[in-house]
């Protein structure tokens, strides 16, 4: 039985509304199953398999056991080897707090490992719902800099994550083209490629904070965790369009995914001639399955859903197809009785990720730090208020400041121990200034909540507790 079935039983489903709002538990406290422990450091050093089961620490998985359930404690066998002999056939080492020595300079550490596990003192997690049409959120409060580790990139999918054999996956481009063509992953990698750093953000990012601004227990993950930022590597879609000879009459294309939702979105051809990619790598390695392995559409700055993952087909045409994902959802009903459609570009947003709920802080100096981004280009300014909006100061924007990418900002701040309110406000290269919630409600209406980006902040109580503040 596959891992997916093990986890989900193949029956659970979730509403798209809930998933887009990031409705799920907040950070889980750790892995769903306790780390099963294998051999002790002492066992490894001594090669004494007989000692297994006494003081067990790092989980050690022998070669060949990857991907399988770790052997029960005591069942793992490691060939006896004296110190200085041939390397142990160990492939994975997952340290636990039990590996902490009183003085790490007085005994050797753990052996090499096939993968680099996080410190047992660091446990950022997404918020999996265990549902087929679900989402999980990036733990923004646990991250530094701008690149989201690929295993913490948020997930949003509508019929589960397909696991695709790249040898059986192709990209078909047809419709209003001179030469309908089929491309394999290897074909794509032979084209000239580009490397670009861009955020991907769900159109529903921030809905929970917009709908429920009084909820003081929201975290950065819940407020804006349907976004992430990666280095993407891929072939410009314009290069592929040149290869197939897109006809001048073509003004829209349909992008179709190879998942069970057979996700489809209509995209203006102009985006291909601007900066769209067919990405095949992310952060130094092939795409993760949840991000579209083996290939995905990347539309820098545009709502996440349009960045079709597992892309298998592009059809060129003269009008949008009006798929479900550009009509019944991801559209913006307005107070005037219309609904805005094809709201691709994500407006500028910022969020302070530290300090934030549920942290408790102490008086003195610390950084107020966060992330800002705009789907329309470069973030030119982030202002921070530490007095509830009475005064604002410009935050430092940490290089690199790239278009349509996360920008890290911070200021040093000395908290005096009195209750206050921290806010951030982003400006992008078009001159757009991140609005208050009140302003968005005034221009769009109180009932619309996709593509929201209102100013949010954190109330610091006099006891040091930090609470979400969404009523701006």
């Amino acid at each position: 039985m596959s891992a997916r079935h093990d986890q989900h039983g193949g029956e659970n489903v979730a509403g798209d509304e809930a998933a887009d709002a990031g409705v799920s538990g907040d950070r889980h406290t750790g892995p769903t199953s306790p780390v099963e422990r294998g051999l002790t450091r002492r066992d490894l050093l001594a090669g004494a398999a007989g000692a297994v089961g006494s003081a067990l620490v790092a989980r050690v998985v022998p070669a060949g056991a990857q991907g399988k359930r770790p052997a029960a404690a005591g069942a793992t066998s490691v060939p006896a080897a004296s110190q200085g002999a041939a390397p142990l056939p160990v492939t994975e080492v997952v340290p636990t707090v039990a590996d902490v020595l009183p003085d790490p300079t007085k005994a050797p550490g753990l052996p090499t490992s096939a993968h680099g596990a996080r410190s047992p003192f660091v446990a950022p997690v997404r918020t999996p719902t265990g549902m087929l049409a679900g989402s999980s959120l990036t733990p923004l409060q646990d991250l530094a800099g701008t690149i989201t580790p690929s295993d913490l990139h948020f997930e949003r999918h509508h019929a589960g994550v397909p696991i695709i054999d790249p040898a059986k996956h192709t990209l078909l481009i047809h419709g209003l083209v001179e030469r309908p063509m089929v491309f394999t992953l290897d074909d794509l990698k032979r084209f000239p490629y580009v490397s670009r750093v861009h955020f991907v953000e769900c159109a529903g990012n921030g809905r929970a904070a917009f709908r429920d601004p009084k909820n003081e227990t929201l975290t950065p993950q819940r407020v804006a965790g349907l976004s992430a930022n990666s280095e993407w590597i891929g072939v410009p879609l314009a290069v592929l369009f040149n290869e197939v000879g897109v006809r001048p009459a073509a003004t829209w294309f349909l992008a179709e995914g190879g998942d069970a939702a057979v996700m489809t979105r209509s995209i203006p051809v102009a985006k291909a001639h601007d900066d769209a990619l067919i990405a095949w790598a992310q952060n130094g390695e092939p795409l993760r399955p949840a991000q579209g392995y083996p290939m995905r559409l990347l539309l820098p700055g545009w709502e996440g859903n349009a960045n079709v993952k597992w892309i298998r087909r592009i059809e060129l045409g003269t009008a949008p197809w009006m798929t479900r994902w550009e009509t019944s959802v991801y559209t913006d009903p307005l107070a005037n009785g219309t609904a805005r459609q094809f709201s691709f570009e994500m407006d500028a947003r910022s969020v302070i990720t530290s300090p934030a709920h549920p942290r408790v802080i102490t008086p003195g100096w610390r950084n107020v730090s966060g992330l800002a981004w705009s789907g329309r280009g470069v973030i030119t300014r982030v202002e921070i208020s530490t007095d509830g909006g009475r005064s604002w100061v410009d935050a430092l924007l940490h290089p690199p400041v790239l278009p349509k990418a996360y920008t890290r900002f911070s200021i040093p701040w000395q908290w005096d121990g009195r209750e206050t309110l921290l806010l951030s406000r982003a400006t992008d290269e078009t001159g757009y200034v991140q609005p208050t919630r009140e302003r968005i409600v005034a221009v769009r209406g109180a009932g619309t909540d996709y593509h929201t980006n209102h100013i949010v902040g954190w109330r610091v109580a006099s006891d040091g507790r930090v609470y979400f503040h969404g009523e701006t």
Binding site: P236, A238, A260, D274, W321, T323, G431, Y432
Partner: protein
């Protein structure tokens, strides 16, 4: 930050060097001597523009084409070419009645969407015409969007059901079943009559109640919040 161009020329903050052929931001605006190219390619990736892709080996092919991939066969295209346009183009042969659709819905859909299409949380409600007037979804979030009160095109319903439903067995319905369940859902939403028969021609003629409510995105950045 000033992005460094390949030749060391600084590109100003917030500015993008124009791509010589009009495609995309060009981080490496000018290609240096080819002996630098490997290092540059490593650091920046090869700058690619439509018809203007360069590498250390020199100019792109005169045709702008790399002769990669292979021609698609008509059978390959036909196998995947299932998308229905909003005007009904590409609707397949077949037909279904509202009554037949009730049977399909009851056996294939009701578990998740309720026997009357009322939704089983967290799965969405499909049926309901209220509020019939004013399209107040932007003013008040209490209204649940349904096929009848929000979806602008009936073709979308056919296309979506055929490709993605039921969730646990997508693509398993016959075209007749998709026509039938589409008919039942439209009838439940008071969009077509209960004795209607739906085929490609009939579906093309269905005008959804919210059809004229949808407008293009008018946000343009800049100082105005829209």
């Amino acid at each position: 930050m000033a992005a460094r161009s390949a030749g060391g020329r600084a590109i100003g903050k917030g500015k993008r060097a124009p791509c010589p052929t009009g495609t995309g931001p060009a981080r490496a605006a000018r290609w240096p001597g080819w002996h630098f190219a490997i290092a540059v390619a490593t650091a920046c990736g090869i700058t690619a523009c439509r018809g203007g892709t360069r590498s250390e080996t020199g100019e792109p092919p005169a045709s702008g084409r790399y002769d990669l991939g292979r021609p698609a066969t008509s059978a390959e295209v036909a196998a995947l070419d299932i998308a229905i346009l909003a005007d009904g183009t590409n609707l397949p042969p077949g037909r279904g009645t509202v009554a037949q659709g009730a049977m399909v819905f009851g056996s294939k859909c009701a578990t998740c969407h309720g026997v009357r299409g009322e939704g089983v949380p967290p799965n969405p409600r499909l049926v309901g015409r209220e509020p019939r007037e004013g399209f107040p979804f932007g003013r008040d979030g209490k209204y649940v969007k349904t096929i009848g009160n929000y979806w602008p095109y009936a073709t979308t319903l056919f296309d979506y059901v055929r490709r993605a439903m039921p969730l646990t067995a997508p693509g398993s319905l016959t075209n007749d079943e998709v026509y039938a369940v589409t008919a039942w859902l439209l009838a439940q939403n008071d969009v077509i009559r209960g004795d209607a028969v739906l085929d490609a021609a009939a579906l093309r003629e269905v005008k959804m109640p919210a059809r004229d409510r949808f407008v293009p995105d008018d946000r343009r950045g800049g100082r105005e919040v829209r």
